[in-house]
Amino acid sequence: MDGIHDLGGKEGYGPIDVDDDESPFHHDWEGREWGIAQCARTPGITIDWWRHCRELIMPEDYLGRPYFDSWAQTDFSTYIEAGWISLQEISAGKSISTDADYGEPATAMTLKQVLQEDHDHAVRFDAEIETPPAFAVGQQIMTARHGSSGHTRLPQYARDRQGTVHAYHGAHVFPDLSAQGQETHQHCYSVMFEASELWPEAKWSQDKVYLDLWESYLTEA
């Protein structure tokens, strides 16, 4: 979707606040939200659907509220949409019985178990598919002129642009359909764009931007 989240190349956001004490969490609630996001398990919710729900946050909230706050808001929205919690329960501030089957209550995990879980959650997104890749490393490609109104991972700034296939990654889960609950795989490539192809002020630049793009975003140049 052409939403507020698609920030690459947008102007007017000003200087970067580079000061940082390198602590992972700057408020207790940030750590709580990180933990909630790691241990909450809801059947059927894909990472791409979760990302799309985050993109759908109202623009003033997306830009105006703290980062982990937007994670909490996204969690709320995915749970409510899936029928696991209700708007009435949010108003009441407590659980009201619903028809959802929550299964056995989540058990307490120790630090050791959590570290093992982190290691075990090195999730792979690739798979073998029968169709051979359409593009070869070194080949010139054009990116699609349009995105889609759903979730997509072709940023606006890289649409209708010429690039060069830099590397082939195998077939990866296609996010546009994964955000609709369908797991399909498409060949995925690292594509190199000259900065001069992307930005009017970069005419003489030798800098490059690399993006990992799925096959259906690309055509032969």
């Binding site: 920030l7 969490f25 241990c39 709320f76 749970y79 708007l87 570290l115 792979r124 930005w199 800098d207």
Partner: protein, 216 residues
Amino acid sequence: MPDFDAKKVAEIHQHLHSHLPSESALRVKALETLLVDKGLVNPKTIDAWIEAYTEEIGPKRGARVVATAWCDPEYKARLLRDAPAAIDELGFLGKATAHLKVVENTDEVHNLVVCTLCSCYPFSILGIAPPWYKAAAYRSRAVRDPRGVLLEFGVDIDVDVEIHVWDSTAELRYLVLPQRPPGTEDMSEDELAALVSRNSMIGTDRELGIEIEAKG
């Protein structure tokens, strides 16, 4: 099960905009209370995740990977060829690093990593992303004005050095392998790891040096 109904989610966000408390702490508390009430999450597990990403998992892991690569050319070759397997040798494979790629800085190339569409980050080797990495200013500008961005971090890249920006919007994640500073030939792997800044592994730092401690 979700219905994957984007229109419904947009309505939910409008409702939450008006009905959730405005303070972030209270919003997260409301979420935790409901999920714990329903047995969907356990508060002790939340504690454990916070401890894991405060005490155990963080940029020290990435620094160890870099120092190992500096000291062992064979490890470096494995790291550049198959980063997930190479970091797993050190026990660091995990969340968001199954499709890790390592990009090497040279005299001719400087690498910089961003995610313009959300804030994708290689959690299991760098921990929680810094606030600036998740902010609109960095996400919008890194792909368009990388030299200006780097100047704000105090890094002036020579015009002869190409900047390669990696916009990690797919499931691949990128770790920058900074250059080993000159004059460190006699240093141990531990001493080298202490030189590797978190920002150098994202690309907002370049020349790592031996910090001269103030004499008191």
